[in-house]
Structure formats: structure tokens, C-alpha cells
């Protein structure tokens, strides 16, 4: 460009000079020539500048084209990024929805755990749960049979539509299919959809829905239909899985609630029976108490009535034996002695019976006062000493530091005298009897052990019953009232104590009496 300008400029200068020379040199012509040359120079300079600017503009235009291409390229890349990002958003949306559904399912599961009735289970599936699962419409029905649908929850479905839906489900056979198929059915508004299913979508006014039965082991309990008003969303596999889990939850909850109802009814029945039996037992017990008191009263009054004539019999027998009414022949004397002996036995029997009756009726109150052990045992020893000596029985006492017993000084000795008398009775000659005392916490354990014939296991249980006598040869030889141990037990229990026995036939017996120490 600039080369052309210089050529033009040079031609201009030469042309001007030639014109000047040709026009006969004059000062005026010289001035004109100079002016013309100046103008030419200026024009050449401007042309040069314009050329440069044109060149710059061309360069900028080229740069602009390059930038435009880069911008378009960037915009193309933006489109790619947006499309990739949209895929990510779609995945994220699905994940968020599934997460929300699972959270909701978890919460629903916890609520279902405490549902106690089947209708309560169905009522938990309300609008909040359905919308949390990502659905906008729902119909949940209970049906004990195919022709008995009861709507429990309708979300976004009006009553008239629900009625039409009920009729359609029954008439089209869709309900039967749902209640016999454990897999949820996904319905989409596509050309190949059965007319009955399409009609269901139309009634719900949704483009897609999931329908599933609630099927516990005991038989169909209900069904649910969930749909979304927006297309495309309700068609994922995840929805199908979610609804399958949901219906399983509901079926288990229905089963549990039925079991709970059954258990509850059984428990109520059991409680009723227990209460009835308790009442019967209480009545029987009251009757027994009444009878026992009657028996005690009877025994008490009879014993009293017997004692007076018995005292007379014994008195007269003593008089006869003393010879106040004349000497008795030997056989007479022997018979009178027997009379006295039996009268004594009878007196003892009556005394024991009276004591038992008094203790049982609560008319006898045991005193609780300290009894020095040494004096107590000495007194007892004095009583049994003759019998011990007669059979050469070794008698030992182990007090183990126990210095006092607490009890009634009138009745407590009878316990030990009775136990020791029995021990002497059943211990053969040159046997041994040991009395032991030992402090055991808040109690004192007193034991009376012998090396006698022992007691059979069949007799141990009944030993403390009134009038029970063990079936052994000694008892057959020695007469007794059968009331001694019964009386001992009553006295010990009246002291808030316990009595027990351990024995082995042929090896002796040990009677253990536990009494409060204070």
C-alpha cells in the first residue's frame, strides 16, 4: 500500500516540476509549485496513515473473527457442560428423592411398630407420608374381601372419584389381580396399556401410577395406589422397589397388629380366668379358715368338756389305787394302774390339743424375752435326765457362744423337751444325742441330733401333721398322741421361727429350729 503511495507521490512531484518548467519559471509559478508539492505531501502522508489504519482494522477484524469462533466454541462447550450437568442433576434428584423416601419409610416403620389395630396401620399412610415418598396422589383401601373396599386415606382424590375408582377396581377385575400378586404393578399412560388400567389412570388423573396389594400371610388386607401428577417420574424401578418395601412393611404391621390383638384378647381372657380362680381360692380359703376355727372351737370346747370327767376318772382311779376303798387284788391293781396311765395319756392329748387350738386361734401370745441359755438347758436336762440314764444315752451340748435365747419362757422349753423326748424314744441304748446352738445372722439355729433309727422319706413330709405317727416298730411299741411335733411346730411358728428335719433311716435324725435372735 505504502509503496503505491510513494509511486503516486513521486509521479505527482515529477508532474508538478514538468508543469512548472513548461509554464516558464516565475516566482508565482514557483509558489504555486511549492503549494502543490505541500498538498501532495500531505495527501501522501494521510494516505499512508489511512493505509496503516486499514491494515490495523483488517488485523482486528481477523482477531474478532477468531474471538467470535472461540466464543462460539465456548458456547458449544457450555452446552455440553449444561447437558452433562443436567444428567448429574437428574441423578442427584433421584438420589434426593430416594433418600427422602427411605427416611420417610424409616419414620413410618417406627410409627407402624406401635400400631395396635389394622385400621390404625392403614391410617398412618397419610398425605405427609405419600408426599414424602414423592407422590402427589394416593388411595389406600382396606378390603377384607373383593367386594368390601373401605377407603382409609385419599390424597388428592375426591370422594366422587374414589367411588368411581372403587367400582372400577371391582368390576374390571384389577383388584383381584392386585390382591393375588405380591409384586407392585407400574402403570404408564402408553398406547399398549390395557383399557382397564388406562381407565384407572384417568380416574386418578395421573399419567403414571403404582398399584400394589398389602398381603399378610393371613390373607389380603388392602391395597394402595400411588401416582404423580407430573409425567415420567413415577416410572422408575426405584418407585417399584419402594412401594414393594412399603407394602411389605404394611403387611407385617397388619400381621403384628392382628397378633397383638390376639395376644391382648388371650391376656384379657387369662387375666379374667386368674381373677376368677383367685376369687374361688379366696372363697375356699375363707371357708377353710372358717372350718378350721370351727374345728379349733370344737376341739377346744370338747377338750374342756372332757377334762372335767377325765379329772374325776383319774381321781377315782388314784383313790382306788391308794387302797382307800379297800385293798385291791393284783389283777384289779394292774387294771387300775392301766386306767391311770391311759387317763394321763388322754390328759396329755387333751392338753396338747387345747394348746394347738389356742395357738391357732391366736388366743395365746408368745412373749419375747431373753432366756439365759445355761439355765434353760439345765432345766431341760433335769427333766430328761432320768430317761437318758435309763438308756445310757450320751448327751452333749454345743452352745457355740450363744448365751441367750429370745422367746416365751413358758412355751419354748416345751419345744426342746418334746424334741429331746422324741430323740430319746427313738435312740437305742448307748446312743448319743447332741444339742447344738449357733448364731446365724439375725437368727439362732438350734439343732437336736440323735443316732436313732431315723425317719423314712415318706414320713418326713407328714411328720408335723396332727395325729400323724411314723410307721416304724418303735411307734408300734410306744404309745403317743401324735400331737407332739405338731405342737412344737405351732410354738416355733408362733415365735416367728421355722422348724425343719433331715433324716436318713438307720443313721439318725436332726431337727433344726431357727428362732429370731432379738
Amino acid at each position: 500500500m505504502s509503496y503505491l503511495i510513494y509511486v503516486v507521490f513521486t509521479i505527482g512531484v515529477l508532474a508538478t516540476l514538468l508543469l512548472t518548467v513548461g509554464a516558464n519559471w516565475s516566482p508565482h509559478a514557483a509558489g504555486m509549485t511549492m503549494t502543490l508539492l505541500g498538498v501532495l505531501g500531505y495527501l501522501a502522508f494521510k494516505a499512508e496513515m489511512a493505509g496503516r489504519q486499514l491494515s490495523e482494522l483488517g488485523r482486528q477484524l481477523s482477531e474478532l473473527h477468531r474471538l467470535q469462533a472461540a466464543y462460539d466454541q465456548l458456547d458449544q462447550q457450555t452446552k455440553l457442560i449444561i447437558r452433562t450437568d443436567l444428567e448429574l442433576h437428574r441423578t442427584q434428584e433421584e438420589l434426593d428423592r430416594r433418600l427422602a423416601s427411605l427416611m420417610s419409610l424409616h419414620q413410618l416403620g417406627r410409627q407402624l411398630e406401635v400400631s395396635l389395630r389394622p385400621d390404625e396401620v392403614f391410617s398412618k399412610l397419610d398425605a405427609a407420608v405419600v408426599t414424602n415418598f414423592g407422590f402427589s396422589k394416593g388411595a389406600i383401601g382396606m378390603c377384607a374381601s373383593l367386594d368390601a373396599i373401605q377407603w382409609c386415606s385419599l390424597i388428592g382424590v375426591s370422594e366422587p372419584h374414589a367411588e368411581a375408582l372403587r367400582a372400577h377396581l371391582q368390576a374390571s377385575g384389577l383388584l383381584k389381580r392386585v390382591l393375588t400378586n405380591p409384586t407392585p404393578q407400574v402403570l404408564r399412560a402408553i398406547a399398549s396399556l390395557e383399557p382397564a388400567q388406562q381407565r384407572l389412570l384417568d380416574l386418578l388423573q395421573v399419567p403414571a401410577a403404582v398399584i400394589a396389594g398389602i398381603l399378610p400371610h393371613s390373607g389380603p388386607a388392602g391395597f394402595l395406589i400411588l401416582g404423580r401428577t407430573s409425567a415420567g417420574a413415577a416410572t422408575s424401578k426405584a418407585d417399584e422397589e419402594l412401594v414393594a418395601i412399603l407394602t411389605n412393611h404394611l403387611a407385617i404391621a397388619v400381621e403384628n397388629s392382628a397378633l397383638y390383638e390376639e395376644t391382648w384378647a388371650s391376656r384379657r381372657e387369662l387375666e379374667r380366668k386368674v381373677q376368677e380362680r383367685t376369687r374361688e381360692l379366696a372363697e375356699a380359703n375363707a371357708e377353710l379358715v372358717r372350718l378350721n376355727k370351727a374345728k379349733s372351737d370344737f376341739v377346744s370346747s370338747v377338750s374342756h368338756e372332757l377334762r372335767t370327767p377325765l379329772a374325776a376318772i383319774k381321781g377315782y382311779a388314784s383313790l382306788l389305787a391308794s387302797g382307800q376303798f379297800g385293798p385291791l387284788a393284783k389283777p384289779q391293781g394292774e387294771r387300775v394302774a392301766k386306767m391311770e396311765k391311759h387317763a394321763d395319756l388322754l390328759t396329755q392329748l387333751i392338753t396338747n390339743l387345747l394348746d394347738i387350738a389356742r395357738i391357732e386361734s391366736g388366743r395365746v401370745t408368745m412373749e419375747r424375752q431373753p432366756i439365759p441359755v445355761e439355765e434353760f438347758l439345765n432345766t431341760i436336762h433335769d427333766v430328761i435326765q432320768p430317761q437318758l440314764q435309763a438308756k445310757h444315752i450320751r448327751y452333749t451340748v454345743d452352745r457355740d457362744g450363744v448365751t441367750a435365747l429370745v422367746g416365751d419362757p413358758q412355751h419354748l422349753p416345751r419345744v426342746f423337751i418334746n424334741l429331746l423326748s422324741n430323740a430319746i424314744k427313738y435312740t437305742p441304748e448307748k446312743g448319743a444325742i447332741r444339742v447344738g446352738l449357733k448364731r446365724e445372722g439375725p437368727s439362732i439355729l438350734a439343732t437336736v441330733s440323735d443316732t436313732g433309727c431315723g425317719i423314712g422319706p415318706e414320713d418326713l413330709q407328714k411328720l408335723f401333721q396332727e395325729f400323724y405317727r411314723a410307721n416304724d416298730p418303735i411307734n408300734q411299741q410306744v404309745r403317743g398322741t401324735g400331737l407332739g411335733l405338731a405342737l412344737v411346730k405351732r410354738i416355733v411358728e408362733a415365735h416367728q421361727g421355722r422348724i425343719a428335719v433331715t433324716s436318713e433311716r438307720g443313721k439318725g435324725s436332726t431337727f433344726s429350729v431357727t428362732l429370731p435372735a432379738e
Binding site: T78, I82, R90, A127, T131, S136, P207, A231, G232, A233
Partner: protein, 404 residues
């Protein structure tokens, strides 16, 4: 001289029975108020899932006849984070607070008149002289919010602070509700005029950035975008999203793709963007948006991310409390689309971020909305607003702080 009482409490209930939920939320808020503080204003945010009349009756049975305003939601917000299917009640007891509540109906038919009526009735009920601003609740299904705001401005003045969120219905897009005193209405606007000793600070942010080439809006009618660069608007949409995605959007309506990539219409300055979501596709290739479209303006696709959205919430909170000496409570009107975009975890993080800014002792309440209204330069105090453009958009978070 007794110190000035500046108290606000928030009650919440997720009881499934609407009446009980209302009573429980109101009673809970009432119990937290200092005994000597008389309740002056109640704001109620209730899930659309409830029977709305029973809900409001429950609230009023606990509070009695006090000024009350509120709206249905696409989710509720408390200091503890986002909630659903619940009711939130905010009670204000601030010495010197004056308020007036008014409602305008038929916002779908004549939005400007509805705005005028709401402002006028609120003014009539207002007993003070000093006015701080107007909280606005409206119907999220109505698209003419800009006209509503014009109606409000005609009564209150163009430099008056107007901010609020438009009611939602748990993303059912069927019907939303507005509460005014004991009344439940739809397609209405409710204005709460605040004044006296209180100040209202607002912050509006969206956290979206332009990503596509700018396109000129060559034809538009109200909320319908007809052509971009003289080509059908839908074809430009298809260029970016692909035919399949757009087909899905046609079938499903507003979905995540539309939420994640709203369209941004350039405002008066280069960094001002009015956000719109495409809610439906016309057979002629037009796009219906959830707000007014200005013919001749430049348009770009916007992109959002979780981190940008969280930063935006913090910025909005900072702007809101900037002009207050003492904040009684913070109301959050967060776009329902942001909740979807953020997901359950990050939606909770968003409220945490706001709490970090305003402080743990300031109660937070609010709801997820279908549109948000606030001045473009929302950070300015009411005094500094001179003929500001009120942005009516979606996808943003509006933080309104009430205090002294």
C-alpha cells in the same frame, strides 16, 4: 427508665391435625414471650397440606384478636432448619412497634388494584407516623407480581421499602393461600406495614451466574417469552438442554433442569439479573415464565451451584442486619427451587449459615416461596431508597430482619 422490650418468638408444630398444629405453634411462641410483653403482631407460615381454615382457627384460638398475617408454604423454616408439613408462628413484641395489615383480592385479574387495595387497607390500620417498610405476602401462582408492586408503590411511594415472599403449596402448583386476620384467601396479596420504633432491613441474593451467550429478547408479552434473536425462544432452550430434556420439561412442567438453569434478564446495570423460571412451553415455541419479561432486554441462561447458593444466603443475611442496632428476629423467604437445588442436607446448612451471620440468639423463621420481592439494591436502608426497582423473581433468598 425500663429498658426497651425487643422480643420475638417462634413456635412450631408438626401435629397432623391442622387445628392442633396451629394452636400448638401459637401457644409455644406465646409461652416464650416475656410475661410483660404484649403481643403486637403474629406471622403465620403453614403447610398447604393442612386444612387452612382449621389451621388459622387453631392459631387464633391461642392468640386471640391480634393483627395476623401469613401464607401457605412450600416448606417451613425455623432456627433449627427446614421443615415440611408443619406450622410456624412468629410473635413480635417490640416497644413502640406500630403495624397495619391489609389485603387485596383478585391479584390474578387486576394485580395493580390488588396491590393498591392491600397498601390502602394496611395504611388505614396503621396508627403511627413513621413507617419502616412493608412485608408482602402474595399468591405464588400469580405471575403479575411486578404489577402488584406498582400498585403498592402508587399508594406508598416508589422509594418505600417493599419486600416479601409469595406463597407456595408444597410444589403441587395447584393453589396457594394467604392469611389476613381470620381470613384465608387465594389469588390475593397481604401487606404488613411496619413502623414506629422498628426498622426493617432486607437482603436479596440469588447466587446464580450467567453462563450462556447473551440473547436479545426480541418479542415478549407479559410473562411469555416469544422470540430471542428473532428465533422461537424454545429453540434456543433446546440448543442448550437438548431435545430430550426439553421434551421432558414440556411433560413434567417445572423440573430440576429449569430450576438449575433459570433465565436471567439483565437489569439496569451489568450485574443485575432478574431470575425467571420457565413454567410451561407454548405450541408456538414460546416460553411462559413465572414473572414479567421485558422486551428488548438481554437474556442469558444462569447457572447455580450449592456453594454459590450458600454464599448468597450469607450475603443476604449480612445485608439484612447491616442497618439494625438490635435484631429481634430474622424472616427468611427462600425460593422453593433453591431448596430442591440444595437438597435436604444443604438446605439445612443454608439456615445454619444464616444463623452464623445473625447470631444464635436471634430467632429465625420463614418459609419456602414461589417468588421473592425486594429492591434490587436491597442492602440499602429504607431512607436511602429513591425510586428503586423492586425485583420480583424466583430462585433467590430474601432475608428480612426486624429490629430497632
Amino acid at each position: 427508665m425500663a429498658p426497651q422490650v425487643v422480643a420475638a418468638t417462634v413456635g412450631w408444630s408438626a401435629n397432623r391435625q391442622a387445628g392442633q398444629a396451629g394452636t400448638e405453634a401459637a401457644s409455644s411462641a406465646l409461652e416464650q414471650l416475656p410475661p410483660s410483653a404484649p403481643t403486637q403482631l403474629a406471622l403465620v407460615f403453614g403447610s398447604s397440606w393442612f386444612d387452612q381454615h382449621a389451621l388459622l382457627q387453631g392459631v387464633r384460638s391461642a392468640l386471640g384478636e391480634i393483627p395476623l398475617a401469613g401464607e401457605s408454604t412450600a416448606g417451613e423454616i425455623t432456627s433449627e432448619g427446614p421443615a415440611s408439613h408443619s406450622c410456624v408462628v412468629v410473635l413480635l413484641a417490640i416497644d413502640g412497634l406500630t403495624c397495619g395489615v391489609g389485603m387485596g383480592r383478585d391479584a390474578d385479574q387486576s394485580p395493580r388494584v390488588a396491590g393498591q387495595r392491600a397498601a390502602f387497607t394496611a395504611l388505614q390500620a396503621f396508627r403511627g407516623t413513621s413507617r419502616a417498610g412493608l412485608l408482602l405476602f402474595g399468591d405464588g401462582m400469580v405471575t403479575g407480581h411486578a404489577e402488584v408492586v406498582r400498585g403498592l408503590q402508587e399508594v406508598l411511594g416508589t422509594s418505600f421499602l417493599i419486600a416479601g415472599g409469595m406463597a407456595g403449596d408444597d410444589l403441587q402448583f395447584a393453589e396457594t393461600y394467604q392469611y389476613c386476620q381470620g381470613e384465608v384467601a387465594s389469588r390475593s396479596v397481604v401487606g404488613i406495614l411496619l413502623g414506629g420504633s422498628v426498622k426493617l432491613g432486607v437482603g436479596l441474593e440469588h447466587g446464580f451466574a450467567p453462563i450462556s451467550k447473551p440473547r436479545r429478547i426480541t418479542r415478549a408479552n407479559a410473562n411469555v417469552l416469544l422470540t430471542l434473536d428473532r428465533k422461537p425462544a424454545a429453540s434456543v432452550y433446546e440448543e442448550y438442554f437438548g431435545v430430550d430434556v426439553v421434551r421432558r420439561m414440556r411433560d413434567e412442567g417445572l423440573n430440576r433442569a429449569g430450576i438449575a438453569y433459570p433465565i436471567g434478564i439483565q437489569g439496569e446495570s451489568a450485574n443485575q439479573w432478574l431470575l425467571r423460571n420457565v413454567v410451561s412451553f407454548g405450541d408456538d415455541g414460546s416460553l411462559a415464565c413465572n414473572g414479567e419479561i421485558r422486551e428488548g432486554a438481554w437474556l442469558q441462561l444462569m447457572i447455580g451451584s450449592r456453594e454459590l447458593a450458600l454464599e448468597a444466603a450469607q450475603r443476604a443475611a449480612r445485608q439484612a442486619i447491616r442497618s439494625l442496632n438490635r435484631t429481634a428476629c430474622v424472616l427468611v423467604f427462600d425460593s422453593a427451587v433453591r431448596r430442591v437445588l440444595l437438597g435436604p442436607h444443604h438446605a439445612a446448612v443454608e439456615i445454619e449459615r444464616i444463623r452464623d451471620v445473625v447470631g444464635p440468639s436471634v430467632p429465625i423463621a420463614g418459609c419456602y416461596t414461589y417468588a421473592e420481592q425486594a429492591p434490587f439494591d436491597a442492602g440499602l436502608s429504607a431512607d436511602a431508597l429513591t425510586g428503586q426497582t423492586i425485583a420480583s423473581q424466583t430462585g433467590s433468598v430474601l432475608v428480612a430482619a426486624i429490629g430497632v
